[in-house]
Symmetry: C2
Subunit: 402 residues, 2 copies
């Protein structure tokens, strides 16, 4: 009798995206003419700089050939200039690996510093994409909880150190934080760097939202500690949010660790290159005016204000004031945020409109945590955001009645 | 004293690309004004169809937003039509996952059917990129040798079956073959399918060069066996070579196994999407005329003839007549093909020109195999190819003298 093979156990461990798994319900609602406000995914409505789109309109290369594995030279050069202008002149071209989206930078970072079963400390809630990459690399997350009550800032050193074992290889952080909007202070970054030094850990720092900090806050980058721990500091970065290039799949892994960079380049050779067109388009970032980034930052700050002011007055709703990025974790006066998110898409309608949000439980590694929370991405313009808040408010009332 | 962490053992196991590792020597030669003919990498000089480039020139979407994780609907639809026109109407949209290059399809396929340490049978020499993906997934290749003497066709069933163990999960094949140019016959495909059924193995079939077969040969696709072993057949495909889109990073994984496709989609969600621009550009493949593909096929057949006729008369050179794809493994009358490849780039000049070839040892998993062989990609026009052969011939004479 012929045998049937079975799929790998590890495939079953790759999680579905909690951001995307409700998409079929949204698609169904739209089919019936319902307008859905998308607060569920960090896909900005901000325009991509026109100087980049001009690269497409004037395209004259043919054929569309492979780029180089490390990255297209024009883009590496532009990124190098970017970090120099950020105040880190010690970053040179050999410290930069162009990746196919920030996701690939996360994969490369985790793969490089862990063997299967090795532990990586991560502060939950955290960006759901980390779960996918940790499942693909076979590393193990050790989640340390941060809570809505203190705006998701870090616990003290003693608490963090208590979770370090012989298998701990790294800490993975994200500041400004997706999904919480928290920006780690200088004291918090000092503490993390001290722990890394003391216990010989890598720090992987996801700084995709570096420019998006509000209320005059300064972002404290791991880059400013890089010369102190040259072999242990790894920056994970992306162009997606900075230039509204989500669909261009471009990120970077940056480190002063030469052996790491050689290894990462070998991984990159295995997939030949990132996209040529996307890279040549993005290489025009050097021609994007400072006012573009400032304008984007101001726009998100305004939206943050609208969201915060709109939600904080709804009875039972908890929202720490987001300090950066364009996300907020919002506590709701309900038991099951996933059920509520489905309800929004399948049942609730206000003037034939509804909103889509991401249940926050998918951003926690620990089961049962964040069950009454949602993540909101405030990537809609002020009017759409105001209307979304109004819908959420009404839906909460209706849902609790039901 | 502060501790220093160490990089993972598995990072050291990710191989450098043997196709790309000589690049620095080529760069150096070019800096000194030497013209280098690139026979080392399958990056075609054939033009990308203009109807695709028109998508760039008339680009009007802004911002550049994420695409869907399964793939941009227009591209999935186009690919679906393509397979239907190839004669496989049972392939529908749910059986297609768009991947970021064929490399990602290989990763997804290997990850899905193996747990770390599980074995995958592969026929060597094989595409070097497989080594990277197997290192990333922690699976283990069991190489079965094919040899230049019978044109790299498969050994008999008994030999293959003798390498199956309790840990064997799959066979990974490539037809038309990179790097050998071999096209498996119906008898060979029948045998592989019979083995897969009898021993409960997956077959991963890389058919990136499906259209490139010569001398009136018919390509026998695993697709034509798919309904016989719906859960076990997995097609790995790419648009790179078919439409000269190497730099667009688009491939596909195709299977009738619903559970596999769900798992693969979850992996895809972890990296959000493939590039939007590349996908919209490639979705115009439905408007590419049949004569484009036929013209490309004829052009490669002509080049194959030039290469074969040119090389077979050089004393000591062995070249089986390539049946498909645009590669040939060529045996040279020397001991160390890598040393010869370096010599070409660093020392040999003919009228200030030289050629770059890929040492074949990197295409073997077994150490010491293929040491006197090179892989040639005949991706240059006939004149450049003739000149390259002339240079190779002269260089061999000079090298042997030295």
């Amino acid at each position: 009798m012929p045998q049937q093979p079975v799929l790998s156990d590890r495939l079953a461990n790759v999680p579905a995206s909690p951001i995307r798994k409700l998409v079929p319900y949204a698609t169904e609602a739209k089919k019936h003419g319902v307008h859905v406000y998308h607060l569920n995914i960090g896909d900005p409505d901000i325009k991509t700089p026109d100087v980049m789109l001009q690269v497409l309109r004037t395209w004259d290369r043919n054929p569309i050939a492979y780029s180089q594995s490390q990255g297209e030279p024009a883009l590496i050069d532009a990124i190098n200039r970017y970090y120099r202008e950020c105040g880190y002149p010690f970053i040179t071209q050999q410290h930069i690996q162009i990746t196919t989206g920030g996701s690939e930078a996360i994969f490369m970072g985790l793969f490089s510093v862990t063997n299967p079963g090795d532990e990586v400390i991560v502060f939950e809630p955290f960006f759901t994409g980390y779960n996918s990459q940790v499942a693909l690399t076979g590393a193990k997350f050790v989640p340390i909880e941060t809570t809505i009550t203190n705006g998701f800032h870090l616990p003290d050193k003693k608490m963090i150190v208590s979770r370090i074992t012989a298998k701990t290889k790294a800490m993975l952080i994200c500041t400004p934080n997706n999904p919480t909007g928290t920006v780690y202070t200088k004291e918090e970054m000092d503490m993390l760097v001290a722990i890394a030094k003391e216990y010989g850990l890598y720090i992987l720092s996801d700084e995709v939202y570096r420019e998006f900090v509000y209320d005059g806050t300064t972002h404290v980058s791991l880059l400013s500690y890089m010369k102190e721990l040259p072999d242990q500091a790894i920056i994970l970065d992306s162009l997606s949010k900075r230039y509204s290039l989500c669909g261009a799949r471009l990120g970077m892994l940056v480190s002063l660790n030469a052996k790491l960079m050689q290894g990462v380049l070998r991984i990159a050779q295995g997939r030949l290159s990132s996209g040529l067109i996307d890279q040549l388009m993005a290489s025009k970032l050097t021609e994007v005016s400072k006012s573009y980034i400032e304008g984007v930052q101001k726009e998100y700050e305004k939206r943050r204000d609208v969201l915060y002011d709109g939600l904080k007055h709804i009875p039972g709703v908890t929202i720490p004031k987001p300090e950066g990025a364009f996300y907020a974790i919002v506590g709701l006066p309900i038991d099951d945020a996933e059920d509520f998110a489905k309800y929004l898409l399948t049942t609730f309608r206000d003037n034939n409109e509804t909103v889509m949000v991401a249940p926050a439980s998918g951003f926690y590694a620990t089961p049962e945590k964040g069950k009454n929370e949602i993540r909101i991405a405030y990537v809609l313009n002020v009017d759409a955001l105001k209307r979304s808040i109004e819908i959420l408010k009404k839906a909460l009332l209706e849902y609790k009645k039901g």
